[in-house]
């Protein structure tokens, strides 16, 4: 993967990003705001994995758009949804890849949990397929081939 240069986002755009991130995911419910979590390092993580997001993200953060987050987001939603999608994904992926955030939501990541295939299935023990077996075959016995359309 290509590493994004550290100065990829200038301080002005970084400030706009932080304001937008805070607007989208503010601190509440014992969770930190995205503006504080998704710092330059987390943005770099996202853009290293997804270099294709760089250009649309920069476009979403361009200074000439409104500096009021709600107004900028509304403009992007109406006129440039692909830039908004890049912003959303960067904020969300940056936020939920943070170790503290993941800990707070109880998400350990996609961890390996070996299968114990020889364990007796709980659904069999609980009798949950008994009614299916008791009803018997439900497949429809087809008629012999007619050759129609064959």
């Amino acid at each position: 993967m290509i590493s994004m240069p550290p100065a990829f986002i200038d301080p002005g755009r970084l400030a706009i990003f932080a304001a937008l991130a805070d607007h989208l995911i503010p601190a509440d419910h014992d969770m930190p705001s995205a503006g504080t979590v998704v710092n330059r390092q987390r943005i770099a993580f996202v853009l290293t994995s997804r270099p294709d997001l760089g250009d649309p993200l920069l476009a979403a953060l361009r200074p000439e758009l409104s500096h009021i987050p709600a107004a900028r987001l509304a403009t992007l939603a109406t006129c440039e949804p692909e830039y908004l999608a890049a912003l959303h994904l960067t904020v969300v992926a940056g936020y939920y890849s943070d170790a503290d955030v993941r800990n707070r939501i109880g998400y350990p990541g996609q961890v390996a949990r070996p299968v114990h295939a020889l364990d007796f299935p709980a659904y069999v023990e609980e009798g949950l397929i008994d009614h299916v077996i008791a009803r018997g075959p439900i497949w429809r016995n087809p008629a012999p081939p007619t050759g129609i359309g064959g």
Binding site: L89, L118, I129
Partner: protein, 548 residues
């Protein structure tokens, strides 16, 4: 690792006439290659993609949900890799999904492994619509069972939705907390459910490791527990002498004045042209790539495309319109974990009941609901929450969902078709395929009925919220019907053994050959048909015309 390293490729040998040239190294191509190579036939395969090592898959990494949306997207239009070809899907209700590489779309498929049901082969006889297949479930059953052993299928035998047969070779995978909730609900409702058979190992098998329930099957299986022919078939085919050339994009199948296939012209990744001679050609390039190639292979003898005297090459495209019904629960289900094939299935409403206002039916498959990025971004149903309530939104979703995927039977319609684009091309300049596909009124009524019933299932299971995606656009995994099988050459492209009516040494072995779609994931049937066809090729090898 380069392909040369893996198979000791000798290009001069590869350019000698093959007994059989296979185009496409995915599910059906792999099955045919292994069978023919094991029988001692000289097999060469051209694959436009590459080998992928399991270390490339991101399922165990922090960025798995990011890369799943681009580098490992199932859409060739999103990935846009040089080995992909773009698909013009502007005139299609559903976007086609596929992957170019050794193992093909199996690298990113879910792994669900149901079979067609007996009635699926007799749709005309039973329901007066579409066409019957020229073979029956019972004729195909031995091939399903052989494939199950080659693939390594996990499941529970005795499902009353199917006729009796051999047990799957491996015990079923766990169904998870969500599966248990829904199973209890179906027990109360008296509805069918069963642990879904999956092409995913529940225990070590033939040198492969078992599933670790990471829930990222559709971004590539890092353990190699999910079957794909790069693991299950190609190493054996190569061991028996098959030659697999990757980075090889077939430009056209060539024919001689007698109209027989003589091999294929192909382009390497540097754009250099090559010719691979063969005494027979097998096309295994999926329900979009195969008709595209046949149409690209027109000649004076075959002016409307190869094997197209019926005019049906590219016609009758079926893609299984897919709806999704997700239930949200108060309980922690850890529904980001588990295999992504399907934990449980239901055939309760699969067979026709005309009182419902449509014919045929749909299989339901219960799947996990993804990680935090998936929970935070707009849902399949379009739900999104930003601001302070975003945190509650994510907590209500992450790990608390169970999702029924509804595959509705797609009846064949000649208006739904693949043709060559006049404007779009792939990276080699070859015309891209253009899809024309609309969801029929029968399918729409079918999906609406099943959405209602699936919602009932999840409410009974305790869901407090139901979210519905009534037609998922990016769901076109099942590319079927565009070179249909049949007895009559005027109304079908290939015969009951997958051999082209028009070209005695040409076979089509992928999902293109389907007569009707059924309402289930098709890969087990594609593989069974391919194995049956390969058996026939071996049995009749001395009857094949000698071209070289």
């Amino acid at each position: 690792m380069s392909i040369d390293t893996i198979i000791g490729l000798d290009v001069s040998r590869a350019n000698q006439p093959a007994d059989v040239l296979i185009i496409g190294a995915g599910a059906s191509g792999g099955v045919v290659a292994r069978r023919l190579a094991e029988a001692g036939m000289r097999v060469v395969c051209l694959e436009q993609g590459e080998w992928h090592d399991r270390s490339e898959y991101r399922g165990a990494e922090l960025d798995w949900e990011l890369t799943a949306r681009q580098q490992w997207s199932p859409s060739p239009n999103i990935r846009a890799l040089p080995e992909d070809y773009p698909v013009d899907d502007k005139r299609s209700d559903v976007s086609p999904l596929m992957f170019s590489g050794v193992g093909g779309s199996m690298l990113l498929f879910a792994g669900a492994w149901p079979r067609l049901l007996p009635s699926d082969f007799r749709v005309r006889s039973l329901d007066g619509v579409a066409d019957d297949w020229p073979l029956s479930y019972e004729e195909l059953r031995p091939y399903y069972e052989r494939n199950d052993r080659q693939i390594g299928v996990s499941g529970l035998g005795g499902d009353p939705a199917y006729p009796a047969g051999a047990e799957p070779p491996l015990p079923p995978l766990p169904i998870g907390a969500g599966g248990m909730k829904v199973a209890r609900a179906h027990s109360r409702l008296g509805w069918h459910w069963w642990p879904e058979p999956n092409a995913i190992l529940s225990a070590a098998y033939q040198g492969r490791k078992p599933c670790v329930q990471r829930g990222t099957c559709m971004q590539g299986c890092g353990e190699g527990a999910k079957a794909s022919t790069d693991l299950t078939h190609w190493p054996i085919a190569i061991k028996h002498g098959a030659t697999l050339i990757t980075g090889a994009r077939v430009r056209r199948i060539e024919t001689n004045p007698a109209g027989l296939a003589t091999g294929a012209t192909w382009l390497d990744s540097d754009g250099r042209e090559h010719f691979q001679a063969a005494n027979a050609v097998v096309v295994a390039a999926n329900g979009v790539g195969t008709p595209r190639l046949l149409l690209l292979s027109s000649s004076s003898k075959h002016p409307d495309g190869l094997a197209n005297s019926s005019g049906l090459v590219g016609k009758r495209l079926m893609m299984h319109p897919f709806a999704n019904v997700t239930g949200l629960f108060d309980d922690e289900l850890e529904s980001w974990q588990g295999h992504f094939g399907c934990s449980i299935e239901s055939f309760e409403f699969y067979e026709t009941d005309e009182r419902r206002g449509f014919v045929r039916g749909a299989k339901w498959g219960l799947a996990p609901t993804g990680g935090p990025v998936n929970a935070a971004l707009p849902s399949r149903a379009g739900e999104q929450v930003w601001g302070a309530d975003h945190h509650l939104h994510v907590r209500n979703r992450l790990g608390r969902g169970a999702s029924w995927g509804l595959f509705g039977e797609d009846l064949p319609d000649e208006q739904n078709h693949v043709k060559l684009s006049k404007t779009a091309t792939d990276s080699s300049g070859l015309p891209a395929p253009e899809l024309h596909y609309s969801v029929s009124e029968n399918s729409r009524r079918m999906l609406d009925f099943h959405i209602g019933k699936a919602s009932e299932s999840l409410v009974e299971a305790g869901a407090h919220t139901i979210e519905v995606d009534s037609l998922m656009r990016y769901s076109g995994w099942h590319l079927l019907g565009t070179a249909r099988m049949g007895i009559d050459p005027s109304s079908s492209v290939v015969d009951k053994w997958n051999r082209a009516h028009d070209v005695a040494n040409l076979y089509v072995v992928d999902g293109s050959c389907f007569v009707t779609s059924g309402g289930v994931n098709p890969t087990s049937t594609i593989c069974a048909l391919a194995l049956r066809s390969a058996d026939r090729m071996v049995d009749t090898r001395h009857e094949l015309p000698v071209v070289w």
